[in-house]
Structure formats: structure tokens, C-alpha cells
Symmetry: C2
Subunit: 316 residues, 2 copies
């Protein structure tokens, strides 16, 4: 079993409009809704890869009821979300059907009280310490809702380590900075998030900086350039053999699912990286945002090129 944590889960709405025009009124032609938030996406991908996965985090209000109903309908993911008084946030992605571009609106999320945070900590502790079905690894994903302490992920990483469960952290800003200090087994930032934390815009240098700040291994996503993996055992870079057009939504969450499952299976690092890159590209190629195309994944796997990255030039 894998456990994913989504402290700021969302009901993700996607609106298709003919053409986005600021300050105009738009008839929405297509509406889709799905359970959202990075950890929920990671759990869904894990389930689609044949793993058992449980999700925890906060859920509340009418939007929370809708999220739980959709999660239950989608099957394969165990719902261990913790009820709160506030309402689960929505995100609205408006897709301009004439260009394919998306304009995104993200609600901030409900305020979490100190008592609700304590209740979540107790649930989380029970989940990571479960005697009969302990998690093989935990993914800690996404932003923090208002009220949750900024050191939340650091506390969750320490709690997992005390139970002997490895963690993957995928967040940004101060929660990432604090989380690094608690020494997670894996972090999965993108180049921008790495630069924010380390001050370096050169990915290899920045990834090494993140290791110095505490991460055991750093998988940095470089968009269409693939992914860079910096570990104690070596450094690798990988990219798909072909660039597939599509929607990058959820590609990072698919990469996180591949990294987490590969890590738990003790895969060699280059193979783990290969899976993450192929699954991420197969997610971009899928017509549905956040889902991966299984035949594309199988096709891309053998073609992923893994290499050792060039050392960056030393600045003068």
C-alpha cells in the first residue's frame, strides 16, 4: 500500500469555451469535474499502475462531498480523508478551444483549525504505523491550506521516518524549505521551485544545493527536457525519445507516482528515472488532463535516453 497526503485537496473543474475573451460572458461548452490536488492525482496513477493506494488530507463542505463521491466512483483508491468544518476548495481551468491554452483559477482552500490539524496528525500517525498494512512509502504533495503550520511537511516526514516509512516531498516555497531540513528520501521540484530554494537557476547546481539542505535524493523536472536525478550513488539525466504535444497538467504527479513506486521496489536509479520520464510524457500525451495513456507509456519506456549530465561551467 502507498499513502499520499493532500492537505489542500480540490474539486477540479475544467471548462471548455470557444474562445477566451477577458471581460466578456462565456457559455461553457464542456464541463468536467474530478477529485484534484497533487496527492490525489499521484494515488490515482499508482492505482492505475496496479498498486494499492490510500489518500489522506482534509475534506469538507458540499464540494468535499462531491470530491468524495467522485473518488469513490473512480475506484481503486482508499479514502482516508479527515473531515473539517470548512469547504474543500475548487479549481477552475478554462480551456480556450481555439488555441488549447488554459487559464487557471485556484481557490485558497478552507481555514484549518489547530484542533483539525491535531486530528489529522493522529490519523496520519495511525496510517503510517498501521501494523497489518503499513505503507511502503508516503507522498506529501502540494500547497498548505490556511491555518496549517508552515513546518507541516517536516513534521510528517519525521513521523514517517519514526515508523520506518520513506517519504517523497512535492511542494514549493517555505513548506519545501522546511521539509528539506527533515531529510525526506526524495524531493521532486521543478527548476523554478529549485531556484527559489537554492538561489541557483542552473538545475544541476540547484539540485545539489537541495541535497545539501537535507534531501537524500532530488528528482528535478525540466519540462520537455525530461528529468534530472541527483542521489548519493550518482547523477543522471533522462528525456523521452520523442516530444509529444499535449496537456502537461498532472505530468509531475505521474512522475511522482513512478518515483515513489520505483523507490519502494528498490529499482536501480536509472530505471526509476526512466519510468518517471516515460510516465510523465504519456500523461502529457493523454487526451484527459492528469491521466496517462498506457500504450504510449509502454511504447516510450524502451526509448528513454539516460545519460550523465554535463557539469555546469564554473562562473568566472
Amino acid at each position: 500500500m502507498f499513502l499520499t497526503v493532500t492537505l489542500n485537496a480540490a474539486l477540479d473543474l475544467t471548462y471548455g469555451v470557444r474562445h477566451l475573451e477577458p471581460h466578456a460572458s462565456h457559455r461553457v461548452r464542456n464541463v468536467t469535474q474530478r477529485p484534484g490536488g497533487k496527492g490525489l492525482n499521484v494515488a490515482r496513477v499508482l492505482a492505475a499502475l496496479g498498486h494499492r493506494a490510500a489518500v489522506t488530507g482534509f475534506v469538507g463542505g458540499g464540494t468535499g462531498r462531491e470530491l468524495r463521491a467522485l473518488l469513490s466512483d473512480s475506484g481503486g483508491v482508499r479514502d482516508a480523508l479527515v473531515p473539517v468544518a470548512g469547504a474543500t476548495r475548487r479549481t477552475v481551468g478554462v480551456v480556450d478551444e481555439s488555441t488549447g491554452d488554459t487559464t487557471q483559477f485556484n481557490e485558497p482552500g478552507p481555514h484549518i483549525s489547530a484542533a483539525e490539524w491535531d486530528s489529522f496528525l493522529a490519523t496520519y500517525r495511525d496510517l503510517v504505523r498501521a501494523v497489518d498494512d503499513p505503507p511502503r512509502a508516503v507522498a506529501l504533495c502540494g500547497s498548505l491550506p490556511p491555518g496549517v503550520p508552515v513546518g507541516a511537511y517536516a513534521a510528517l516526514i519525521r513521523e514517517a521516518r519514526a515508523a520506518g516509512v520513506p517519504t517523497l516531498l512535492d511542494t514549493s516555497g517555505e513548506p519545501l524549505r522546511r521539509g528539506l531540513a527533515a531529510r525526506p528520501e526524495l524531493v521532486k521540484p521543478n527548476a523554478r521551485e529549485l531556484a527559489e530554494i537554492t538561489g541557483s537557476t542552473e538545475p544541476l547546481r540547484a539540485a545539489r544545493g537541495a541535497r545539501r539542505r537535507g534531501a537524500r535524493s532530488v528528482a528535478a523536472s525540466l519540462g520537455a527536457e525530461g528529468m534530472l536525478l541527483v542521489t548519493r550513488d550518482g547523477t543522471w539525466q533522462a528525456a523521452p525519445a520523442e516530444r509529444l504535444p499535449g496537456n502537461p497538467t498532472g505530468a509531475g504527479d505521474s512522475a511522482a507516482a513512478a518515483l515513489l513506486s520505483g523507490f519502494a521496489e528498490d529499482l536501480p536509479w536509472p530505471e526509476l528515472l526512466t519510468r518517471a520520464v516515460a510516465l510523465s510524457a504519456a500523461t502529457v500525451a493523454s487526451p484527459v488532463a492528469g491521466e496517462f495513456d498506457a500504450p504510449t507509456y509502454a511504447r516510450l519506456l524502451p526509448g528513454v535516453r539516460v545519460s550523465e549530465p554535463n557539469e555546469p561551467d564554473i562562473p568566472a
Copy 2:
């Protein structure tokens, strides 16, 4: 008691963003949600004016549950909505806080089955024929959801007339065209809607055209220019003494509430028009979209100028 019909009710969401930028991701700074759809707004204004009001139409799904909870919390309006299998639509208004401009996204609404339409007709018949508390007037408002026959409003107008209850119709396009033929007591189109139906962009000529097509009286909203009223008894135009800046959302619904209540009270036409113009302007001036500012309404009432409109030039 007044009855308002909203066949395509909505959960109205308003998102405040710092600055709207197409194809970017936005953090929503403020979220408000309220029961929406023109008929629901009209009923809320009637209640705020001290009248008893009931709403009917369709409601369904998780969004429908939220709408009913908000309606019940707001108080003063009786919920006679008819449950359906589909989910109540949402509308999302994105307010650019740097300019005050709103970009609107409207979901289409649930598909209504023939059986659901029949069930609504039975409920509506009971409401307009109620022996103990019959409605003084009915407002028929807004667009039709998918599946509802385009002649829906015509049928509802005839049903009300058979029960001796006058109707106000506020819709557009083909539902308005068909509705006119059933001879409602009042229609409240804007200049664009009138032009669509009559082919004339000159408001007085267009309003007379709408009367020829069946409406007993036509109250045409002219935006900041006020309102034009064409009846069997005479023709009047009115505008507020001052132009107040603000948000025009719901101004038309406030005008409809004033017209409906004034008509039921047998007010002289110029006085009815005065109330509609003042209430509409007080709604624009209110900080909350769709609500009117009572002191502003009281202040504006005595200053509304009513005049007989100039005849349009006869085109060569």
C-alpha cells in the same frame, strides 16, 4: 405571495483576482457564492422589499444541495424547487480587482427529461392555483436548460392566465418570441433583446413591435439611460437623477421585482416605472452584486424624472 420561476437556476460563484491574465494561473483572493438565476434574484429582492416570495424551477446534484442550503440561510424566500437527476449549473464571475471588470463563465445546466418537465408543470399548476395563498403575480425568468421545450414560457403564461394570475416574462431569443405570443402582462427586455425579436434597434419602435407580437406592456431597460415603458395607457421614459458607478449585475432583476410588485399593487404606470428605475440604480450602487442599497433606493425615488419619450424620426 409572489412566485418566481427559474428553470435554469445556478450556484453563482464570484472570484476576486488581483489581475486577470489569459493563459496564466491565478490565486483567487476572495470567493463568494450565492443562489443564482434571475428568478431567484427577483424573489430575494421582493423579500427585501417586504413581500412574501416563493421560487420554483429545477434543482439537482451537489451544487443543487449547496444552492438550497444558501437559499434557506438567506431566509424570507420559500423553496418550491423541483428535484431533478442532473446537477444544478454553476456560474463563475471573475472580477479583476485592478480594473473592476468581470469575466463571466456560465455552465449550460442539466438536461431536463420529459418526465421531469411534466413533474415541474404539475408543481407549477398547484402553485398558481393554490386556494389558500394564490400568487399575486408570477415572474418567468432566464434561459431554458437543455431538454425544456422552447415554448415552455408560453405554456406557463397560459397556465397562469387560466388561474387568473398575471405574468412578467424576462428572457431572450426564441423563448421570448414564443412567450410573447402567449400575451404576458409585462415583458422586461433590454434594447439588444428587443432588437433580436423585432429587428429594430430604435427602442420605442422595438417596444411597440413587442406589443404587436403579444406583450400587453413592455418595460425596456436602456442601461444607464433608464427605462422605457410602453403600455395600452401611454408611454413613459424614466432615468435616475444621478448616475451612480458600480456593478450592474442584478440591476435588471431588481427592476423586474419592482415592476412585478407595482403591477400587483395596481400602481399608476409612471410610479411603477419610477420604482423600477430607482431600485435598479440602487442595485448598481450596492457593493454586493445583486443586492440593492435601501438608503440609496429611498434617496433616489423622489429624484427619478419621468417624461414622454420623443417619437423616433421616420426613416426616409
